[in-house]
Amino acid sequence: METEKKLMDEDGNRLDGRKWNQLRPIRLEVGVVKNADGSAHIEWGKNKITAAVYGPKEVHPKHQVLPDRALLRSRYHMAPFSVDERKNPAPSRREIEISKVIREALEPAVVVEDYPRTAIEVWVEVLQSDGGSRVAGITAASLALADAGINMRDLVVGCSCGLLGEHVVADLDDTEDKEGNGDMPVAIMPTKGLVTLLQVDGIYTRENFQKAFELAIEKGKEVYAMQREALTKRFFSSDLTSGPIEEEAA
């Protein structure tokens, strides 16, 4: 298949040199937004995403109050400069859908019944977008929730796998997402081994579906190790820097 050849060479190397099951570089930092009750920044491939949490707080408008649990709100938003062509800042249909699935992916891990009649707000801002931005956003958002001291059953962590031709690969970047043959973002609660987000695009044989899905879970657990490390660093570091991750060149 022509596409396959371009995106993966005969030795199974991908355009950026990764093997089929290799993650892009990931950097995580917790506690980057001063005003927020909790926050985290993730750089995953070319993704640069900041997530912040406010709450538990009063619910406005009041008719949205839930008597027995917290109302979880979320927004996934892309900065106008985050993509190749400038994006209109008004939320697109895509952003509205992703805001919903992110909320549904995070909520199972939040002990919402501990905070009745309150709102917990999760704001995810994509500063630069690459393949897998929604799972990167979820990964940062669950760190921000933990950083805010919200009671959690588990963290939530995601990874997207997919197809280059008929080959299952881990963690598609932008080019692989657009020119490849399928994308499958998966979010999990890693210690519970349960899935909280699953979306599938592409044409998968039953076998490839299972392979990609199980790979996504496996790689998600790899990212989870980095999440824990970032949290540890946050809570046991005395040298909290003020901004997000520093640039090499800066």
Binding site: R103, G202, F213
Partner: protein, 270 residues
């Protein structure tokens, strides 16, 4: 506010439903993996290029296809456009309201769109007229006429039926321009994707939940398969978890249940 959250089921009815599910039965007598009665009518809107009215139990959707020419997206200069929209009409439910599409309606339209698009049901390259300049645009608008659960599948079936029976003008290229001829041809259909939605209530997993079942479900998963039993789209829904085992089981159920529905679809839209 989501329509599911507004739907109220009486306590006694809930208990009854959960009791029966434990015994592998449903309130309306269906087996756990049995979808409701599906009715497909096509060609109901003469002003559309294609149309269908689909009833899945009491959920009813009308899809209409409008075909015109337009300009391709810069990153896919050799492909026609396919756009799926859905409106949950206020007449369809006491909980639906007029106004711009809700989060729920947007998710519905996008999930249905992906099932159609990712299966490569329509060969979009055949809808390119002049590369980078002129392509065929295909709008599929879905009017939800009555809400009784599982709008994902009902809407998807309406879109598939409408597209499979759509007719468009044949175009010929003159220089840099596409000109329509008098000849009428079908839309280039390659596959017939079938969406199957499952819900979990307590321990049971059921196919094609109705509104009452949706009001009590804690997890929803939609899986779309194609003619060869490939999986081409999926969307897990609701603020809840699903075990990896259940995902794989749901894939198998979707392949199997989808096969019978595909036969009915092909039969009804020949």
């Amino acid at each position: 506010m989501s329509m599911k959250k507004n739907y109220v089921v009486e306590t006694i009815r809930k208990a009854q439903m959960m009791d029966m599910l434990e015994k592998g039965k449903r309130l309306d007598g269906r087996a756990l993996d049995e979808p409701r009665k599906l009715t497909i009518e096509t060609g109901i809107i003469q002003k559309a290029n294609g149309s269908a009215r689909v009833s899945l139990g009491n959920s009813q959707v009308i899809a209409g296809v409008k075909i015109a020419t337009g300009v391709p997206f810069p990153d896919t200069p050799d492909k026609g456009l396919l756009v799926v929209n859905a409106e949950i009409l206020p007449l369809a439910s006491p909980y639906a309201e007029p106004g711009p599409p809700s989060e729920e309606a947007i998710e519905l339209a996008r999930v249905v769109d992906r099932g159609i698009r990712e299966s490569e049901m329509v060969d979009l390259t055949k809808l390119c007229l002049v590369e980078g300049k002129s392509v065929v645009t295909t709008f599929v608008d879905c009017n939800i006429m009555n809400v009784d659960g599982n709008l994902f599948d009902a809407t998807s079936y309406a879109v598939v039926a409408a597209l499979r029976t759509s007719k468009m003008k044949k175009y010929k290229v003159e220089g840099d321009k596409a000109v329509s001829t008098d000849e009428v041809v079908p839309v280039p259909i390659e596959r017939t994707p079938i969406s199957v939605t499952m819900a979990r209530l307590g321990g049971a997993v059921i196919v094609d939940p109705d509104a009452e079942e949706e009001a009590m479900m804690d997890m929803r998963i939609t899986i779309t398969t194609d003619d060869d039993g490939n999986i081409c789209a999926s969307q897990k829904g609701e603020a809840s978890t699903i075990s990896p085992e259940l995902v794989l089981k749901a894939a198998d159920t979707s392949i199997q249940v989808g096969r019978a529905i595909r036969s009915q679809m092909v039969e009804a839209t020949r």
